[in-house]
């Protein structure tokens, strides 16, 4: 059966080349019935339904804390230590397995990690958080004290500035979508407005920057312009997706700076010092700066760029027989809302506008989808996001243009997946 023979689409009902189906056509016909695409003729006859064992006797007992089904044991974070054993144990990353998840919220146990010196085992009764420096009243807060403030709730992503580093290699690496782009997670956070706490301490007029510091052995430390807190959206999160933040996400508290470089969202937050100028910590000079070809480096590039990735199909989520598939993926921007996501099935020669939610929150992951009639031939899938500032996700070549070789930070280039004739998917630079 050749799909073109059965495909009831006129050329204008294609949204873009190589089988991307138009939204207009979908609206007109409703969701495409299998029959409409001519797939009925080969329909398989299902077997008679049996009553399985689990329907015939009572199941397991109640549990205090629920766990995923044992059949989902493959859905885990791939981990990557960054140093040989005994040299930097606890300094490394683990990736959110993006291609194994749906929707937009990252489950807490699968939210990516980047630690610079392991996960501290903090007793919340002992933990203290201080605000001092250029303030009228230096203050120290216990966890219980913070829990008494009115709570702010916000859904936003946190993305490591080194996300997608595997696409900085000269040769395209054969890794999954999560193993390439999974240094990002999206959660509903609840906590206390940083502006409110700074107000309580009374920031002096010379106070222009904050130095945030963690209680881990690396005492992770970053300078932050005070604007992100005063009149901004910075907050101290105590809860993630309804439960207290996990140890690897900063228990008992972390800073959240929506849309800004992951490492500034300091975990295990113990101190904020109000200062007049940035202190140039190691992680805002040596690391998380962007070396250009001309030898100069971009510094204080806080906002994460507009970006998207197709998670299905993608490596590990191969296609079966030719026919209709949903192209689905994630898009986000540190600058605000996503206004448009386009998908190409012909390596960027033509683009179709994908469906996105109408009321997507700013600085949060959104999911896009578009039906695709795959004709069984090799194809190249891409997605390209645009945000409310008009910024458009660049090609890999355009993104790399100013940067030195091996510059890995703030990589937001278009991801291309090559689809082979047998439905296999691989990472390609296109």
């Amino acid at each position: 059966m050749t799909s073109s023979k059965f495909l009831p689409l006129s050329t204008e009902e294609h949204a873009a080349g190589n089988g991307l189906v138009s939204r207009r056509w979908l609206l007109r016909t409703g969701f495409p019935a299998v029959g409409a695409l001519g797939l009925t003729s080969g329909m398989v006859q299902a077997e008679e339904l049996r009553v399985p064992d689990w329907s015939s006797s009572p199941g397991l007992d109640l549990t205090g804390y629920g766990q995923p089904s044992p059949f989902e044991s493959e859905v885990v974070r791939p981990t990557l230590p960054l140093f040989p054993e005994g040299i930097g144990d606890g300094s490394g990353v683990s990736f959110t397995p993006l291609e194994k998840l749906a929707g937009t919220i990252t489950p807490n146990g699968l939210f990516f990690e980047r630690h610079h010196s392991g996960i501290p085992e903090i007793d919340p009764a002992e933990h203290k958080f201080a605000i001092h420096g250029l303030v009228e009243r230096p203050l120290v807060f216990t966890v219980d004290a913070l829990l008494r403030y009115p709570m702010v709730t916000k859904t936003c992503f946190i993305e490591c500035a080194g996300n997608s580093l595997f696409n900085s290699f000269d040769e395209a690496q054969q890794r999954t979508a999560g193993e390439i782009h999974g240094l990002i997670g999206n959660a509903e956070w609840a906590g206390v407005s940083l502006a409110q706490l700074l107000d309580e301490a009374g920031v002096s007029p010379e106070g222009k920057w904050l130095v945030a510091e963690g209680a881990d052995a690396a005492k992770m430390s970053r300078s932050i312009p005070i604007e992100k807190a005063i009149e901004g959206d910075a907050f101290i999160a105590l809860y993630q997706n309804g439960e207290r933040i996990r140890p690897e996400q900063g228990y008992p508290m972390r800073l959240v700076l929506p849309g800004w470089q992951g490492s500034m969202n300091v975990k295990w937050l113990r101190r904020i010092k109000v200062v007049s100028a940035p202190v140039h910590t190691k992680d805002e000079t040596s690391k998380y700066t962007l070396l250009q070809k001309d030898g100069k480096s971009r510094q204080f590039t806080y906002e994460m760029g507009v970006k998207s990735v197709i998670t299905s199909p993608s490596p590990g989520r191969e296609l079966g027989a030719k026919g209709l598939y949903q192209v689905s993926g994630l898009a986000w921007s540190g600058a605000g809302r996503i206004t448009r996501v386009e998908v190409s099935a012909d390596g960027g020669a033509s683009w179709a506008v994908a469906m996105i939610p109408g009321q997507a929150p700013p600085r949060a992951l959104i999911r896009f989808q578009l039906p695709w009639q795959w004709d069984g031939q090799p194809a190249t899938l891409m997605s390209r996001a645009t945000d409310e500032t008009g910024a458009v996700q660049p090609t890999r070549e355009a993104w790399y243009e100013p940067y030195a070789a091996n510059q890995i930070f703030h990589q937001n280039a278009i991801q291309a997946w090559a689809v082979s004739g047998n439905g296999g998917i691989s990472n390609v630079y296109a």
Binding site: L139, F141, A217, A218, R271, H280, T285, Q299, A404
Partner: protein
């Protein structure tokens, strides 16, 4: 009930509610003195604010280096499994650039700040301030930025001019090209 009367009741209810609120908004922080924060206040800025008393030279630092750092960062700051801290000065424009403390870091104070807060990796905070000054002096000397008997202390360290001091373009609040 007339709309006006209903409005008046609402207004007085609102006034009563406002009166029942505490004069101050919620304040749950406890006062603390800067001296009680001293063990935690380890940030050092490029102007040297935050540098403690004490001093050290590269010669003294060589001992600290051999005992506390070389296993991970190499005998003379090169070739170790945790990455090079020495060399590469002048290579940043080349495709084979080497980023180290010497070739890349804009401020010497950052070395003090970072080593004191995070190194040696398995025992951060175990070095005395004199030892930190000394090992910073050692790294600066290995990178040929200061001489072997230059004394590093709160006064001298911020004055050390790093080779890549002018190598950074600030992108906050806007790109400063």
């Amino acid at each position: 009930m007339s709309m006006r009367k209903f409005g008046a009741i609402l207004a007085s209810a609102a006034a009563a509610f406002a009166l029942s609120l505490p004069a101050q908004a919620q304040n749950y922080g406890e006062a603390i003195s800067e001296s009680d924060l001293a063990n935690w206040d380890i940030s050092v800025g490029p102007d040297g604010v935050g540098l403690p008393a004490g001093s050290g030279t590269s010669a003294q630092g060589a001992t600290v280096w051999a005992e506390q750092c070389s296993a991970c960062h190499g005998e003379k700051g090169k070739g170790g499994p945790a990455g090079d801290l020495v060399g590469g000065v002048g290579t940043l424009k080349s495709p084979e650039h080497i980023k180290t403390v010497g070739s890349f870091w804009p401020y010497s104070t950052t070395i003090f700040d970072y080593v004191r807060r995070a190194m040696p990796y398995y025992a951060p905070g175990s070095l005395s301030d004199d030892e930190v000054y000394a090992v910073v002096a050692y790294l600066l000397n290995q990178n040929e930025i200061i001489s072997e008997d230059d004394i590093m202390n709160a006064e001298n360290l911020p004055r050390v001019e790093m080779p890549n001091a002018n190598g950074f373009i600030s992108y906050w609040p806007v790109a400063n090209q």
